[in-house]
């Protein structure tokens, strides 16, 4: 569930987000409070019967880790990967 390329014009970094599906309890905080609306709740269930988030707009992720701060179950977090030059991130 790794995804994302910085949406910044300068592209100094790209954001990545990791979701631990089976630890999620489906509260939806990360979906609601993601500033760039990267996530949505999955239609599928996880092994515990909740709907975990999935990435729908990977390019918009800035790696701000607000999802990680909001997640009460420590199931999601974001981070930033530096991009050396334009074109380095494909």
């Amino acid at each position: 569930m790794v995804a994302g390329k910085g949406n910044m014009a300068a592209k100094k970094y790209r954001g990545e987000v990791f979701i631990n599906r089976d630890r999620c309890k489906g509260c939806g905080f990360c979906v609601e409070f993601c500033p760039t609306h990267v996530l949505t709740l999955d239609r599928e269930f996880n092994t515990r019967g909740y709907h975990p988030p999935v990435v729908v707009d990977a390019d918009a992720c800035t790696g701000c880790d607000l999802c990680g701060l909001y997640c009460p179950d420590f199931a999601i977090h974001g981070w930033r990967v530096p991009v050396q030059s334009d074109g380095a991130g494909e």
Partner: protein
């Protein structure tokens, strides 16, 4: 699907073998844990010098999940335990993380006296307005007219205003944030980790299963939206004006930041004055 070399920063501070934790979906206590871990990382203090003490209740489980020196005390007694710990080991950073039923109701006496003496401990109180673990009795901060197991027609008790209580008892740092204000809550925790004296941070948290279900307030997400829409940041506000009403505005912010001699400093000063060279000063000094 791989996490790569990047681990969730929370995981290195928690006993992950105990996960999943007991907290309900939509509970705010996990957010307070997130903020505290980020504050530990940001303040760059030695994790071996940190000790987390908590009492009984949903929030009281935090001590069991933290992979630092932690202690899960009896009901209402995290502050006496922390006071003893601080007196025996003045070099340690003692953090009390517990709920409002534990700290303010059964432990209320300890709370006001630790604030009066200005014991150098940091108290982070998760306020969810009810005794959640025991089934939802009226707590010390339950707003007027709220429904609880022991108040099926609405509570008629006047609740505590925690920042006012802490300020008037003598705390050196008083702040209140909700779990919606994660960045500010983290900043407040960094502040208190670097500040000597009795510091108090109130973290208002949703309780979807007990408090909100009985009061028809929706799930955790709905409460977080409520915090976003109905909270007002007023740093330095008069703490007397911070009462919380059902469905009313929640005033948040940093209210008090002052300096007073701590318990051990005051003892050193007084006894040095009285006894002169016969008194050997207490080995104070936290690694800050």
């Amino acid at each position: 699907m791989s996490q790569g070399e990047h681990r969730n920063p929370v995981e290195s501070f928690l006993r992950m073998d105990r996960m999943p934790h007991i907290w309900c979906p939509g509970c705010g206590i996990g957010i307070v844990v997130n903020c505290f871990v980020r504050a530990l990382l940001k303040s760059k203090i030695d994790v071996d010098s940190v000790s987390v003490v908590s009492g009984i209740g949903c929030t009281g489980r935090i001590a069991g999940y933290f992979k630092v020196d932690s202690f899960h005390t009896t009901h209402g007694r995290p502050i006496p335990f922390a006071t003893g710990l601080k007196t025996a080991r003045p070099d340690m950073n003692i953090v009390v993380l517990s709920g409002e039923g534990d700290l303010i109701a059964i432990g209320g006496n300890h709370f006001i006296h630790a604030a009066r003496r200005n014991v150098d401990i940091k108290v982070i109180c998760v306020n969810n307005f009810t005794y959640a673990m025991t089934g939802g009795q009226v707590g010390p901060t339950a707003p007027l007219h709220s429904i609880a197991t022991t108040a099926p027609y609405g509570s008629h008790e006047r609740p505590f205003n925690l920042p006012f209580l802490a300020e008037s008892s003598g705390a050196t740092y008083v702040a209140r944030w909700t779990t919606y204000h994660v960045r500010q809550l983290t900043k407040a925790m960094v502040d208190v980790l670097n500040k000597p004296g009795f510091c108090f941070v109130e973290a208002i948290a949703p309780c979807p299963t007990i408090y909100q279900r009985r009061n028809r307030m929706g799930d955790g997400l709905e409460m977080m939206r409520f915090y976003r829409e109905h909270s007002r940041i007023a740093n330095g506000a008069d703490t007397r004006s911070l009462d919380i009403e059902m469905g009313g505005e929640i005033v948040v912010g940093k209210f008090i930041d002052r300096d007073r001699p701590t318990y051990l400093e005051a003892m050193d000063e007084e006894l040095s004055k009285r006894l002169g060279n016969r008194y050997v000063p207490y080995p104070t000094g936290v690694k800050r």
